[in-house]
Subunit: 209 residues, 2 copies
């Protein structure tokens, strides 16, 4: 079936998407932590366009972009599916993934603009809760789907507190359930560590944006 | 197989993606031209999140977002495939689609910022030509793929002239070939009409952005 390898970093939320998808399907893989300070020759060789992690390797062949990698994983190992089998349900899930992906990046801003980002984030989360989650346990129903993985990054910087404060009860319960799934629990994104790292990077940066 | 219906507008490039995909697969469909001035009840009901065309209906069920619609069409009608059958080749094509989609919107700017947009556009096109097209007739090889459809919108406002001026010879030949495919030829995007319409809208708009 070919060697499975993942190059990522602990501060890249997108790296976690791939880890989670592989673990949910029980696929063994080698994980290589990329040096944040000097981009390795491996990374530059295999992702010359974006020079970013994660880079996924299957049988020696590289794939970049987290959602492209996850679609590939789903096609190669269709068990424990991350997309519904019904084509219409698949399309609905893909619609919400695109919605979350388009709205998501604004939520990663730290410092100035954070209030605006939080407002956008809240608006998105309200719509997602009402239209996509409803009364289901996970976005995929009883099981974690690609959309759960996308949203599970802790896109909302405030996490559970923010969901509680803004009465997003169903999302709050969802986040608790998500974190309790064993393969997620053993590989939770270190949000605090990541934010501290990003703040440090920002302070070290000679220019302000 | 259920009724197939498309709600679009002649000024929406994304509408053409769906028309082309359906025609390439020989799927009969009803086309409903949306009134640009008053968004119809149909549109507001079926795309409440974005309130945008295209909206695709299959057996009465609506789907929004052009790439989500095209993935659905590919799953329901797999003949005359728009994605390669090999999973790795599919992933590569999806990578380039994401790349073109992420870089694409800047190219739609008219007026101020156009120079910057053109620079971004050129950079993207050079990379696409070298890395994704190479010496193939279409991005899909001998046949049109999802990536050809995405790029076929005439993302570069200057079209053939721009490709010629910047010595993007292989893309220039590709664009000529693309336009000669019968189903594309009979339903070409009216770029000049669209730009004139957008300029008119801009002049009528009370605020400048």
């Amino acid at each position: 079936m070919g060697e499975v390898k993942l190059v990522g970093t602990w501060v890249s939320p997108y790296t976690y998407r791939i880890k989670w998808a592989l673990k949910l399907k029980g696929i063994a893989f080698d994980y290589i932590e990329e040096d944040l300070c000097s981009k390795s020759a491996l990374l530059l060789q295999y992702n010359p366009i974006h020079k970013k992690v994660p880079v996924f390797f299957h049988g020696g062949k590289p794939i970049c972009e987290s959602m492209v990698i996850i679609e590939y994983i789903e096609e190669i190992w269709p068990h424990n599916p991350l997309l519904p089998t019904d084509p219409y349900e698949r399309a609905m899930l893909r619609f919400w993934i695109k919605y979350a992906e388009d709205k998501g990046p604004s939520m990663w801003m730290v410092g100035e603009g954070q209030h605006k980002a939080e407002q956008n984030s809240l608006e998105m989360l309200k719509i997602i809760e009402e239209k996509a989650l409803g009364d289901k346990k996970f976005f995929g129903g009883d099981n974690i789907s690609m959309l759960d993985i996308v949203l599970g990054l802790g896109h909302w910087l405030g996490g559970e507190k923010l969901l509680e404060a803004h009465k997003l009860h169903r999302l709050h319960v969802w986040l608790k359930n998500f974190k309790q799934v064993p393969v997620i629990k053993e590989d939770l994104l270190d949000l605090d560590g990541m934010l501290a790292y990003l703040r440090h990077q920002r302070e070290m940066s000679p220019a302000t944006h």
